[in-house]
Amino acid sequence: MTTVRSSSVKPKLAVWKFASCDGCQLTLLDCEDELLDVAGQVEIAYFLEASSATVAGPYDLSLVEGSITTPHDVERIHEVREQSKFLVTIGACATAGGIQALRNFTDVDELLSIVYATPSFLSTLDTSTPISDHVTVEFELRGCPIDRSQLLEVIGSFLAGRTPNVPAYSVCIECKRRGTTCILVANGTPCLGPVTHAGCGALCPAFDRGCYGCFGPMETPNVDSLVGALVGAGMDAGDVERVFRTFNAWSEPFRGAGVSEGDP
């Protein structure tokens, strides 16, 4: 990435929203200690959650939250792409389709009829898909929600022209750096840490809870092998399928995870 900082013009930042819970954009507002600094270093040109004022594109850095679920979204994401020099997707919705991608496993008409009396009023696609399925993406930041320091690292590294320090290895590495005792080994608590992308700082195990995969798959996930250990820890086939089918359900190999014939 090339640095965009120059002495006179501040780079323009835009924040876009598609189907999502708003939590990832809120993460930016949650950077209480740094928010005014961020505003000092970049021009917040488009960020509806924070400001009614908007500045026309092109934008140097676009943060995109949310997944593509409507025909209108498909058009809009291409417009966003055209106006953005550097596009970063933020969160599980934008990088993996989010929880709403559970629709991809079922019949959308049925879902509509469960929730709405007159589904025909609504315009929606059969699938919820990540941004990278539609346009080129410069960087994907994972998590449901994203981690505050990682977001700052992405913005900071963009300004510095550095590759962000956002490693793609397992949650286990962070878990051990944090000094947490492995709860899968010491307690038999099912944990997705070994196949999950680092970034949260191994939060759940530090709270005596198995990781539930909210950062999605790590760089080389061996889901089949972990499933054996999960079954050993007492999960049944239904549990295994459900635990992988949450916020990153549509990303491979979580998508196909399950207990196969040969498993114990």
Partner: protein, 435 residues
């Protein structure tokens, strides 16, 4: 969009800023009368209620948190309480207190965000808190500090501020030590002082004269300013248990929005949120908050939506007080959670999200799998009331020729309500058509 001297005027806002989530509004004016107002929520449907079918009873707290990143704890709490109701579990004592404490964190964070980032800039005719920092930096710095404390409280109990990981049906995965909570006391004291300053700041604002007549609905608890539980009451005589909610309230779909609208079966539009909560529970405020409300010029009832900013500030102060009380009385429970006994059942749970009443209902089968789920968020409950307010606002300002002025005003009306669009589970652009 805006033309001079035309028989028909149309006013559109493409996307409504500074509400969490996005939506659009359409107003039609014919012969100087407001014919129609539609709050068009175009948040794409995310089908939570459908996805919940077939999931285990333990999953709603994590899954429904993802409905709204602004008030995930509210979703987690309503979900937990509904499932626990279905399974006949009781979560009491210190575990209940810890839940309230966690909820206090979310109220502080969410209220301060709403007051300073979304609402306050309107009073100064500004576009954002960042701009506000230009004219009143101390106020924004104070807000950031207070908001951060809210987030820290969320992290302390919940593990993280957005989508906390430490909440489960039955309680928590891990509870903090007494030492750890007490070490947070000075921070909460600081929050209380800051919250008092916020009350002072917002009570000095100029409020346009507007009184709403909607039926107010909120939770009410025998001894607390209800957050986590209580009976569902209204100023027109509703006084029911959570379990009776479906008998009295109904959601229905409107063509212009992906958010379902909720109405009182007997009457129609009603209102939840700070104004309703405050007016129904004024007598339950902590003495410090009650005093501050009085000094801020609020009576026991508040029906001016602009003044909701003051109510939020008072509520923020109140939860700081409540949190201090919880911390002082904290005793580490022996078990971080109550064990669930799986079985079939139907359960209801209602709690007070920062934006108002949030109701969940789950039906479980014998294996503890969900067969049906219903979620009624505050936004869908207020939708009809917001539209009513908009009609009245536009009617009162019909002489205003400048569409931009009108548009800004209408947006303010909407922000008074703080409709959290993304949380309209099932779900803004302003168009004014004049003729």
């Amino acid at each position: 969009m805006s033309h001079k001297a035309r028989p028909q005027r149309s006013l559109t806002t493409e996307a409504l800023a500074r509400v969490e989530g996005e939506g659009a509004m359409r107003v039609e004016i014919h012969d100087g009368r407001v014919e129609r107002v539609e709050l068009n929520i175009y948040e794409p449907p995310r089908f939570f209620e459908a996805f919940l079918r077939g999931r285990r009873f333990s999953e709603p707290p994590d899954i429904t948190a993802r409905i709204c990143g602004i008030c995930p704890v509210a979703y987690q709490m309503s979900a937990c309480r509904a499932v626990e109701d279905a399974l006949g579990m009781e979560v009491s004592g210190q575990l209940r207190e810890l839940r309230r404490l966690l909820y206090c964190g979310e109220w502080i964070e969410s209220h301060i965000l709403h007051i300073h980032f979304l609402h306050l800039p309107d009073f100064f005719g500004l576009d954002s808190a960042i701009e506000l920092a230009g004219v009143n930096r101390p106020a924004v710095e104070r807000a950031l500090e207070l908001k951060k404390i809210g987030n820290e409280l969320l992290e302390l109990i919940g593990g993280r501020a957005i989508h906390p990981i430490n909440v489960k049906v039955g309680g928590f995965y891990k509870v903090p030590t007494r030492r750890r909570l007490l070490s947070f006391r000075p921070v909460l004291e600081r929050a209380r002082d800051l919250a008092a300053e916020v009350v002072a700041l917002v009570s000095g604002l100029d409020f346009p004269d507007l009184q709403v007549e909607h039926e107010f609905v909120a939770l009410r608890h025998p001894s607390e300013y209800a957050i986590l539980e209580g009976r569902i009451v209204s100023d027109r005589g509703i006084d029911i248990t959570e379990q009776e909610f479906p008998d009295h309230f109904a959601e229905h779909q409107v063509e212009h929005s992906t958010a379902l609208h909720s109405r009182v079966r007997a009457r129609g539009a009603y209102m939840v949120g700070p104004l309703a909560r405050y007016s129904l529970n004024f007598d339950r405020l902590t003495p410090v908050a009650a005093q501050a409300a009085a000094e801020a010029g609020l009576g026991p009832e508040c029906r001016n939506p602009f003044q909701s900013i003051v109510v939020r500030a008072v509520e923020t102060l109140d939860v700081c007080e409540v949190a201090l009380g919880i911390v002082d009385a904290y005793d580490e429970p022996d078990h971080p959670s109550v064990e669930a006994e799986v079985g079939a059942g139907v359960g209801h749970g209602a709690t007070e999200a920062p934006r108002g009443l949030l109701y969940h209902r789950y039906q479980l089968d014998a294996d503890g799998l969900i067969t049906d789920a219903v979620i009624t968020p505050p936004t869908s409950q207020n939708q009809a009331a917001v539209e009513d307010d908009l009609v009245r606002f536009v009617e009162a300002n019909i002489a205003e020729e400048d569409d931009d002025v009108l548009r800004r005003g209408a947006e303010v009306v909407i922000r008074n309500h703080d409709p959290c669009i993304s949380c309209a589970t099932h779900f803004l652009d302003l168009t004014v058509v004049r003729s």
